[in-house]
């Protein structure tokens, strides 16, 4: 295992994995919230055309991919914002145009071997160069700082765009910023995850995190933790098992997602069994309802015809002796509000 860290290429691959694992879920959370889970996929397609042009003209493929992906991001967002009905078709043309042009141009380049193409599409740990790593690190810092600054407003726009506009927020500018950040993330991830699978690392950790966190903030933290785990774990497994790193990372992420889904389903089932819904009544308990309030273990129960109603999500649960011991529920705690 320790030999893993003695190779220069592995050190670079692991560092790149840390950057990707951190950045991809951070950007992805807003894409999921805006229901744009597939947009990163399209940007990856267009980035391939950039890579190919870079290889053919001897420009660094990373920089060429960055230019292509950012241009695509801006075009995609402007087409979406225009709200035209043909917008969907226009996006498809851009996406498939990108990948088709990429494959064709790459075939004309000296480095356009099938092995190289596979590495660009699905990721390879041996391909991270020292010069790439500096670019990736700088871009990752840029993404993290921007997301940190814009996070409250990106959240506001993603959760209710109309309201954000009414409150005078620069909605188009924020959406463009998110699109460009997505493009930058595509490029940071291209070596390790590959252009066809990048989008998965932006989305799948968030899908899993949703099952584990109970707030947006907590979900974001879970997503980054899962992203880091899968990216670094995927690179290690890829080395041991000699598999393409991108595919390995995404398979791991999907495994985490499945584990989280099953775990969540089990927990929900157990909780529902222990969980007695109170009868519905035509008012909501509160300071004005007239039922005595009983502060209890961090929440407030209401005494309703001799039993207790505890607020749970949108309804009330029955709180009684069966749940957690009648001893803690002595009526002397009761107070009239």
């Amino acid at each position: 295992m320790s030999e893993l860290f003695s190779y220069d290429f592995m050190q670079r691959a692991l560092l790149a994995a840390v950057l990707v694992g951190l950045v991809a879920p951070l950007v992805g959370v807003f894409l999921v919230q805006r229901r744009l889970s597939l947009v990163g996929d399209g940007m990856g397609h267009v980035a391939l055309a950039g890579v190919a042009v870079g290889l053919l003209t001897n420009v660094s493929p990373v920089w060429a991919a960055l230019v292509a992906a950012v241009l695509a991001a801006v075009a995609i967002e402007l087409i979406r914002a225009s709200g035209r009905t043909q917008g969907d078709v226009a996006l498809a043309v851009i996406f498939y145009g990108g990948i088709a042009a990429g494959v064709v141009i790459l075939s004309k380049s000296a480095q356009g071997t099938p092995a190289n193409l596979t590495a660009y599409l699905f990721g390879a740990i041996t391909t991270v160069k020292g010069s790439d790593l500096w670019v990736f690190a700088a871009l990752a810092v840029l993404v993290i700082v921007t997301i940190w600054l814009l996070r409250p407003r990106l959240f506001a726009v993603a959760s209710d765009e109309e309201y954000a506009r009414a409150m005078g927020m620069p909605v188009l500018a924020l959406n463009l910023a998110l699109a460009v950040l997505t493009a930058v993330t595509v490029v940071v991830s291209m070596r390790i995850v590959g252009l066809l699978l990048i989008s998965a690392l932006m989305i799948v950790p968030n899908a899993a995190a949703q099952l584990l966190g109970s707030s947006f903030r907590a979900t974001m933290r879970w997503a980054v933790a899962i992203g880091l785990l899968c990216a670094v774990g995927g690179v290690v497994v890829s080395y041991q098992a000699d598999t393409p790193s991108g595919g390995t990372i995404v398979v791991l992420a999907i495994a985490v997602f499945l584990a989280a889904s099953i775990g969540r389903a089990v927990v929900t089932r157990v909780r529902t069994r222990r969980h007695a819904r109170a009868e519905t009544h035509a008012h909501e308990h509160g300071p004005e309802c007239g039922h005595p309030a009983v502060p209890h273990e961090g929440h407030v129960d209401y005494l309703h015809d001799g039993h207790r109603h505890a607020p749970h999500e949108g309804h009330y649960d029955e709180h009684d002796a069966a749940g957690h011991g009648a001893a803690g529920h002595e009526p002397e705690e009761a107070r009239q509000p």
């Binding site: 959240f155 959760s159 506009r165 009414a166 949703q210 903030r217």
Partner: protein
């Protein structure tokens, strides 16, 4: 409020989208402390008026002033926090988890700098807004698990978090069951008692009859009644007759004379 300047003032205002006028020649003033209900059938353009005040629909003619400032200048001035908007939405976004206080916090952003983070005051205002709508005990709960009426109250709290001078509410009871309509009306009664100015659009007054001070009826693209709540109640049968024939929805194009004067009828001046 020391000035007698109306908070909202429309003079023959026409609103719509692009070239398409939805509501024509609306003349209406809302003064501080008033609770005005805009009533009218579906398709009468009630929501378009509210959206016009928020810059979400286009002003195609007439004059609109907010706090005495022409609306275009108001929107450029960055004073958006003075308007509180409660949109008509049946559900809050369910694509990512978000707790009630996270949603309410987005309403506070208009009063925060881009580089700052919520101060103690901001957090206090957010907590108090949730308390006002009776959801303090559910601040940390994922909003999608709340009932329709509770979600609507989260949206009211979000608007309150900006500490606005007027609340603009679009169909607050849409998709809310009777029990929750009652709580909603209580919340609005509490706000009205605090002197909060409200302009609400609704197709049924029943839930808010004790809260509103003035009623405006909008139909066929113009104002057809404007008076105090009691005046409205006295003529309700006659006005509602018009209402119950609900579907003049498809834009009739003949011009409707606007029968309205200004808002002297409102019982509450700037009594705060």
């Amino acid at each position: 409020m020391t000035t007698s300047e109306p908070i909202v003032s429309m003079r023959g205002a026409t609103f719509g989208y692009g070239d398409h006028a939805v509501v024509r020649r609306v003349t209406l003033d809302v003064h501080a402390g008033e609770v005005v209900a805009i009533l009218g059938p579906n398709g009468a353009g009630k929501s378009t008026v509210v959206k016009g005040l928020l810059g979400l629909s286009d002003r195609l003619g007439g004059e609109v002033r907010l706090f005495g400032t022409p609306i275009d200048r108001f929107r450029r001035s960055g004073d958006h926090a003075r308007l509180g908007y409660v949109p008509q939405r049946h559900t809050l976004s369910g694509s990512m988890r978000a707790t009630a206080d996270e949603i309410v916090a987005t309403g506070r952003l208009v009063r925060q700098s881009w580089f700052g983070r919520p101060s103690a005051t901001d957090r206090q205002v957010i907590a108090r807004s949730l308390e006002t709508v009776g959801l303090a005990d559910r601040a940390g709960i994922d909003v999608v698990t709340l009932s329709g009426g509770q979600q609507r109250r989260v949206l009211i709290a979000r608007a309150l978090a900006a500490q606005p001078e007027v609340l603009l509410m679009d169909e607050p009871t849409a998709g809310v069951d009777t029990a929750n309509q009652h709580v909603l009306a209580q919340v609005m009664g509490r706000l009205a008692a605090q002197g909060v100015t409200m302009l609400l659009v609704t197709h049924e007054l029943d839930a808010f009859v004790d809260v509103v001070s003035r009623v405006v009826v909008l139909d066929r693209g113009g104002v057809t009644f404007d008076g105090s709540r009691d005046e409205f109640m006295a003529r309700e049968a006659e006005l509602l007759h018009e209402h119950h024939t609900h579907h003049h929805d498809d834009e009739l194009t003949y011009p409707t004379p606007s029968l309205t004067g200004t808002a002297e009828a409102g019982p509450a001046g700037g009594a705060t």
